[in-house]
Structures are given as C-alpha cells and as structure tokens.
C-alpha cells in the first residue's frame, strides 16, 4: 500500500506545480496548498505506514504493547500543517491586497518592484 500512497504523492506534487506555474495568483495559492498536502503525505509515507494503531500508550502501561504508527513523522507534519495554514492565510490576504491595489491577479502585470524598463544604474561614484 506504500506504493499506492507514493504514486498519490506524485499526483499531488504534479498538480501543485502545474497550478503554481499559472499566472493567476489565486490558482498559485491553491497550488501552494496542494503542494503542501503532497509534501505532508510524502513525509508520512516515508515514515512507513501502519493501519489504525495510533501512537498512544494505553493507560497503565509504560510503553505500547504492540507495534504502533511511527510518531515522529506525525509530529513533523502536525507542525507543517499549522505553518502551511498560516502561510496560506497570509498569502491569501497578500493576494487580496495586491488585487485591490494593482487591480490585477495576473503576475505578468504586477511589475511594481521590477518594472519593465528599469533605468540603467548611474555610471558615477
């Protein structure tokens, strides 16, 4: 089943990259989220998958009785999900502000920082 998930990661990553290469800011945002999900699944799968046994120690024991899911990737992904969400919200508001200020959601027309015909640097000291 690992291999199915590995293939699924590929689909996530492909779609995320395809959307990121779009010129529409909102689509890039969606691409970001999808790519993030793909990477989370990648970490999850790389830590090997087990069915149904959550990494929780039963009450009264010092250690789990049988094999459990690998807790380390889960801890990493938990952090990643939260940070991914922060990033998503920030980018969304940024895109929203950019749209309001520049009246554009096409990255080709957003050229405030790198204008089309930037002046030559001055040839002096």
């Amino acid at each position: 089943m690992d291999y199915v998930l590995a293939a699924l990661v590929g689909v996530f990553v492909s779609l995320g990259i395809y959307l990121l290469l779009s010129r529409s800011v909102i689509r890039m945002l969606i691409g970001m989220t999808v790519l993030g999900n793909g990477v989370n699944l990648l970490i999850f799968t790389a830590g090997r998958v087990t069915r149904e046994v959550a990494p929780i120690v039963p009450a009264g024991l010092d250690a789990p009785a049988g094999p459990i899911a690998n807790p380390l990737p889960q801890a990493l992904i938990l952090t990643a999900i939260v940070i991914g969400f922060s990033m998503f919200s920030f980018l969304l508001v940024l895109a929203f502000r950019a749209y309001k200020s520049l009246d554009a959601d096409n990255t080709d027309t957003m050229r405030l920082a790198e204008p089309e015909n930037a002046p030559q640097p001055p040839l002096s000291y």
């Binding site: 590995a6 990121l20 502000r97």
Partner: protein, 790 residues
C-alpha cells in the same frame, strides 16, 4: 609602569582602537580640546616604544602572543625588532602630531569626532601591521589600513571626487590585500609556519621551492599596490581628496610605506635573487622618474607632494631591490628622512591652504612675511628633502650613492637614475619652499595670517627632527640604522654614518651634482611644466581613464547580468526552480542506478509479473480515489467556487488517509485547516472579480504540464526508492519508549511536540502569530486608505 613587556606590545597595537571608539564621545564632551586629549594616546605609545627600544637596539626582539584560534594553532602574535621599531616610532610620533593638527585643521567641523576616530583606528591598524608576527594578523591589519584609508579619503563624502578617490584606493589596495592573503597561505604551506619571526630563519624554504615565482609575484603585487608603484600608482594622487592631515599621515609617511615594510620584512626569505633585484629596481626606478616628473607637471601643492611621494616610494623599493648593506642602510635613513620632511611639507601645504585659501603655487607668493613660522617649518623640511649637509636627508643620499659607487656598468646606470631622480626631487623641494613663501606677495582668497600652534607643531618638530637627526649621525647610525638593517638582512650591520665632508670621495661630488641639477630644475620649472603637460595631453589617456573604463564596464556588466536574472516574470522564476528540482530528482537517481529496479531483470521476468495489485482494502481504495478525483476536479473546474470545493475534497481525502493509517491527531488538524481554508477562500473570492478559468496558451500548457508531470513522477519514484530501504527507527523508538516514563504523556505525538521539540513548537506558534500580525496590518492599511480617500 608595572606592565610586562608582552602586555605592552599588545597595548601598542590595540590602544589606538580603544581611543578610536572613545573619540566621538570625547569630542562631544571636550569639543575643540578633544584633539589635545586624544594626542596623549600616540604620545604615550611613543614613550612606551622608547622604553622598549633598549633591548631591540642591542639586537634582540620582543615578542608577545595572545591566543586567537587555538584549535588551528593560530595566535595573535606581535614582535618588535629593529625594523618594526623604526616604523612604529614613525607612525606613533607623526600620529601624535597629526592628531593635534587635525584638531585645528577641522576646527568646528561637525564630524570632527568621527574623523579623529577614523584616524586613530588607522593608527592602530598600521601599528598592528608593523608589529604583527603572524602573517594572517598582518593581512588583517593590512586590510584594516585599506578600509580606514577608504573612510578617511571619502571623509568629505558630499563630493564625487572624494568618493571616487576613496573607491579607487580601496579597489587597488584590496587587490593587493588579496595577493597578500594568498601569498601568506602559500608561504605557510611551503614553510609550515604562520610566524614571520620563524619564517625569517628558514632562508631557503621559499627561494628553493618550485613555487618561488608565485609567492614572489603575490608579495610584490601586495607591496606594489599599497606602495603605489608604477603602473598602479594612480590611486595615490586621487587620494589627495582626503583632508590634508590624512594626506600627511597615511599617504606620505605611513600607509603607503606598508608595501616597503613588507618588502623589507620578506627580504631574508624572498630577496637576493636576480628576479627580485631586477623587478624591484626596474619598477622602483620607473616609479621614481615618473613620480618626479609628475610632480613638476602639477601646480597644486598637495598634488606636487603626492607625486614626489610616488617618486620616493619608487626610490625605497629600488633600494630594497639592490639589497646590499649600504642600500638597506640608505633605505632606512631615507625612510626616516622622507617621513619627517614629507609629513611636514603636507602639513605646511594644509596650513597654507587653511590660512590663504588656495594651494596653487602660481597663485601664492610672499607668504613668509605673514606666516614666518610656517615658512621655517617648510624650509627645514625642504632642505632635508634637497639633502643639504646637517640634515638627515643628506645621509640618506650619501648612503644611496655609497651603495652604487664602484659597481659594474648596470650599477652606474642605476646611479645615474638616482642622481637624476634626486635632482628632480630637489628641484621640486625648492619650488615648494620658495614659490609660496618668497617673492612678491600675491593676493589670496583669504587674508593670510599665521596658523594656530597645533598646526605649526607638526612642521616645526618634524623639520627640527630632520636636522637634529642629521646632527647626530652616530646616534642615527647606532640606534636606527644598525638595528633596522640587522632585522632586514638577518646579520649584524655596523653603523658607519659620519658627518665628514671628504672632498676626495666621489660622494660629495655626486651630491654637489644633484644640488646643481636641482637648481637648474627649479630655474626651468615653468618650461619643464609646459613641456610635460603638452606630452601628457598628447598621450590622451592615463591609468586613471583605464580605471574608470573598467569600473563602468563592471557596472554595465552587473546591470546586464541582473537584468537577465531578474527579468520580473514570476512564472519564469518558477520554471527555473522546478527545472532545477526535476534535475535534482532525476540526476542522482540515474547516476547512482536508482531506477534499475524498474527495468525487469531476467530472473523476475517481464513487467506483467511484477504488476501486482497492492493489497488495499476497498474503503482505502475509495479514499485514494477520492483524493485523485478532488485533485482532478481542481484542475478542470470551470468556476472558481467548484475549484475551491474541490480543494476541500482533496484536503478531506488527505485527512481520511491520516485517519486510516494511525494518525488521528493529523486527521483532526487537517480537517480543521481544510474547512477553514475553504470558508476563508470562499469569502475572499466572492469579493473579487477574477478570471474564472486558467487561460494558458498551448505552448505554456505543454511546458507547465510536462514539468509538473516530470517533477511529480520524480518525487514518486524517489519515494518508492526510499521505501525499498530500511527505516532507521532509533529516534522514534526512543520517543516511544520514554514518552510515559520521562515525559509522563500517553499521546506520543503530543509529547514530541510539546516536550522533546518544545522550542520547535514555540517557533511554530511564533510563525502563526507573525502571520496573524501581518494579516492584521495588511487589512488595517486598507481601512486607513479607504478612510483617507474621498
């Protein structure tokens, strides 16, 4: 003083830096008296050095070391021998007078405190340079002098000429600094020591090595850039944009002499070969004549002096190149003589400029009546420069001629060169002494009057020192010449200076010839200047124009490169990123044979046998299918609302996968985040008029699609490859085993987050908070902008 010898040497190099840090505060408190207070530091260093001088003159050295990078065996080692002592005393002695002078020269300047700080920092770097034993420390102080010189030249940074001079000096001297660093590393590689004092004993190590040529070229490169040898001399005249105290201190007496010091220091290990002699004598000789002629071309006092400094530096390099006992002795005496008279003359030039308002010798005349003390200072210095008997300059000239008289015809050519060079310099000295001060009084922009005491102290004391030293040849020979020459040559040298005019010796006649020619040059100065100016106008370009062309070419090149890389098209940036990702994924896999498992081997048979359907339960297949469907729906969604909902579907499917495979915490968080994302996106998107569809021309579509599929396939293949290996579970096992006993938590994932990786989680929370604040700021700004609108 209860200080040990070791501690006091380190103090000599480090005290000026301390004073530099304090200088702005002292200036704020003490105002115009700050220079008098700060001059105590270099004066104290002079005292300290004199106390240390006795064992050094006796032929010993004093060494001290502070641990620097002990793990690499590096120490911040200082040592004081005859050569360092001469240089250090010159630096600190002139430094004290310059600090005083600056106080009066920049009186009332708003940034005087800063200026004094730079000046003292330079002094510390320069003292460190001449005292450093470790070659890396030498390099560090060498670069520090370049940087402080840059700051001082560009002190008047409102003028473009000052900025240009500063950048030029920095670029040229830093090229030399890099040479020095590489040279030091190669020298260390060959000899096994960083210490100059140890290197000195290993005479053959560098000279007999196959890399001798390289080491020699690197050290000569360092010395020639710093000491302004032809054809790298052009930065020095432009450095005259600095305030005059800087020109007097850095660009005549000290910093430019660092190259001379380096050559002297390396003489035992690099010198004595025919290449060494040939290169140094040739370049030194050309520089001498070039600088002397350059001086005659100028009418600005500071420019004249700058050109003569170039000439003198050439002369010093030439003498080191000759390398005989008399030549080295001449080099040391000339160094002392030059430092005294040139710094003095620069200070005189500054005083004239300060009081009369111009430095042009054609606009000055008859100032001796109005500025008698300044004139005495100028005369004392100029007579030493001419090399009249009873001045130290006389002995310098005698020694040079002594080094060459009686040699073969090549030596006689060099001798002729020296006589001509000295005659030209003597002529210039007469011009500088006589033109502004004697003759008819000319009207000047300011009504000239005597300069303040602080500005007179330097020229008078230095000029006086030149004469006193000239009157005490025994002392000069015993205390300056012998220890210095011993340090350079590595064997004991006997002083032999005598104040005796022996008419039978050819030296006196060579001196007389020099004076005679000097007077001719002085008489014909105007005609010579006209001819030289015509010649240089005919040449049309100079090293200066080449420098500009190179610098501007560099700027244009940088602009072109920047434009090519920063084209401003986001999609191309991303294409580059993902192409790099694809290469990074596939290249190692292909190179290391990671994809071999795909190709069926003979034992395994063909593909059909390998295609086994993985054992997934039906509902697991369902969830995977749901994720794929959600993703495809995002891709082909016709309206943005459907796209957003599809986004929610793939996220929920992911949450279900987490749930099915033993990660309930992840599933819960993922679900929450997904729901929030969809809700927020919907709210925002309905506010915007956005393109519903993703328009891409066919070629973009093909490019993006290929790239996406290749990257996705790469990630999948890599992950599958990872899955074939064994997992290192030590860390997970540790967490699992210790979660309850140590951290007292049953949920291992939570324990990891809040306990084992608590700081990481703190960082995560900070990121969330930062994002929240940024979002708040972005939204607030909009409200304000709307409120301010009509």
């Amino acid at each position: 003083m209860g200080l040990s010898l070791d501690a006091s040497i380190a103090l000599v190099a480090l005290a000026p830096f301390l004073a530099a840090i304090l200088a702005p505060f002292i200036h704020r408190l003490a105002g115009s008296y700050s220079a008098w207070i700060l001059a105590i530091v270099p004066a104290g260093i002079v005292m300290l050095l004199i106390r240390l001088a006795e064992p050094v003159i006796a032929g010993g050295t004093i060494a001290a070391a502070i641990d620097w990078v002990p793990s690499y065996g590096l120490t911040l080692a200082f040592f004081l021998d005859g050569l360092s002592l001469v240089f250090a005393l010159t630096i600190a002695g002139i430094g004290a007078l310059i600090v005083l002078y600056s106080g009066a020269y920049l009186k009332g300047h708003p940034h005087q405190g800063r200026f004094l700080a730079y000046l003292l920092a330079f002094m510390g770097s320069m003292l460190g340079l001449v005292l450093a034993d470790n070659m890396l420390a030498l390099f560090m102080f060498w670069e520090a002098t370049s940087i402080t010189s840059f700051l001082l030249i560009g002190f008047d940074h409102n003028r473009q000429a000052a900025r240009r001079g500063a950048i030029q000096a920095l670029v040229i001297t830093n090229i030399g600094g890099m040479c020095l660093l590489v040279g030091a590393i190669v020298a260390q590689h060959l000899s096994g020591t960083w210490l100059l004092s140890e290197l000195r004993g290993l005479e053959g190590v560098l000279k007999d090595s196959a890399l001798y040529g390289l080491v020699l070229a690197l050290f000569i490169g360092a010395a020639f850039t710093k000491s302004a040898q032809f054809p790298l001399h052009f930065w020095l005249p432009n450095a005259m944009e600095a305030p005059t105290p800087v020109s007097a201190f850095l660009h005549s007496a000290t910093m430019v002499q660092a190259g001379v010091y380096l050559l002297g220091r390396m003489t035992p290990v690099l010198g004595g070969t025919s290449v060494w002699t040939g290169v140094l004598v040739a370049f030194g000789g050309v520089t001498l004549i070039w600088g002397a002629l350059g001086a005659l071309k100028e009418t600005d006092l500071k420019q004249i002096l700058a050109q003569t400094t170039i000439a003198s530096l050439g002369l010093l390099v030439l003498l080191i190149g000759l390398g005989s006992e008399a030549a080295i002795a001449a080099m040391l005496v000339y160094f002392v003589a030059h430092a005294c008279y040139k710094a003095g003359l620069f200070m005189v030039a500054g005083a004239v400029d300060h009081e009369a308002g111009t430095r042009d010798i054609t606009a000055l005349g008859g100032l001796a009546d109005k500025m008698p003390v300044t004139f005495i200072g100028a005369a004392l210095a100029a007579l030493s420069m001419v090399g009249l008997p009873l001045t130290v300059g006389y002995f310098a000239k005698e020694e040079m001629y002594l080094a060459l008289v009686g040699g073969d015809w090549l030596m006689l050519v060099v001798l002729a060169l020296l006589v001509i060079g000295n005659a030209l310099l003597a002529g210039v000295a007469l011009i500088v002494m006589i033109r502004p001060f004697l003759g008819d009084a000319l009207p000047t922009p300011k009504s000239a009057h005597e300069a303040p005491v602080a500005m007179l102290a330097g020229p008078i004391l230095l000029g006086g020192a030149g004469v006193v030293a000239g009157l005490l040849p025994d002392w000069l020979g015993h205390d300056v010449l012998a220890p210095g020459a011993t340090a350079i040559l590595g064997h004991a040298v006997e002083p032999h200076l005598k104040l005796a005019l022996d008419l039978a010796s050819p030296l006196i006649w060579l001196s007389a010839l020099t004076w005679l020619l000097g007077i001719v040059v002085f008489r014909q100065a105007h005609a010579i200047r006209t001819v030289l100016r015509r010649l240089s106008a005919g040449l049309g370009w100079s090293a200066d124009t080449v420098f500009d062309a190179v610098m501007f070419g560099l700027i244009r090149f940088a602009a072109t490169v920047t434009r090519a890389l920063h084209h401003g098209k986001l999609e191309f940036y991303l294409v580059v990123v993902f192409v790099a990702l694809a290469v990074a994924l596939f290249w190692p896999m292909l190179a290391l044979g990671g994809l071999d498992w795909i190709v069926p081997t003979a034992e395994l048979g063909d593909w059909s046998k390998r295609l086994v359907l993985p054992e997934l339960r039906p509902y697991e297949w369902g969830v995977v299918l749901l994720a794929v469907l959600g993703l495809l729906a995002v891709l082909i969604a016709q309206s943005r609302l459907i796209a957003i909902l599809s986004l929610g579907i793939q996220g929920t499917a992911l949450a279900l996968i987490f749930l099915l495979f033993g990660a309930p915490d992840l599933a819960f968080t993922q679900l929450m985040v997904e729901v929030l994302s969809v809700v927020i996106l919907t709210i925002v998107m309905t506010n915007l008029r956005l393109d519903a569809r993703d328009h891409r021309p066919f070629e973009d579509w093909a490019r993006d699609g290929t790239l996406a599929v290749v990257c996705g396939a790469g990630v999948s293949l890599l992950l599958m490859l990872v899955l074939t290996g064994t997992l290192d579970t030590r860390l997970s096992d540790f967490f699992t085993a210790t979660s309850v006993p140590i951290a007292h938590g049953a949920n291992i994932v939570n324990v990891i987050l809040v306990d084992y990786r608590g700081f990481d989680t703190l960082g995560e929370i900070s990121v969330v908070m930062g994002a929240g604040i940024a979002i708040l700021a972005l939204l607030r700004r909009r409200k304000k902008a709307e409120g301010a609108g009509p």
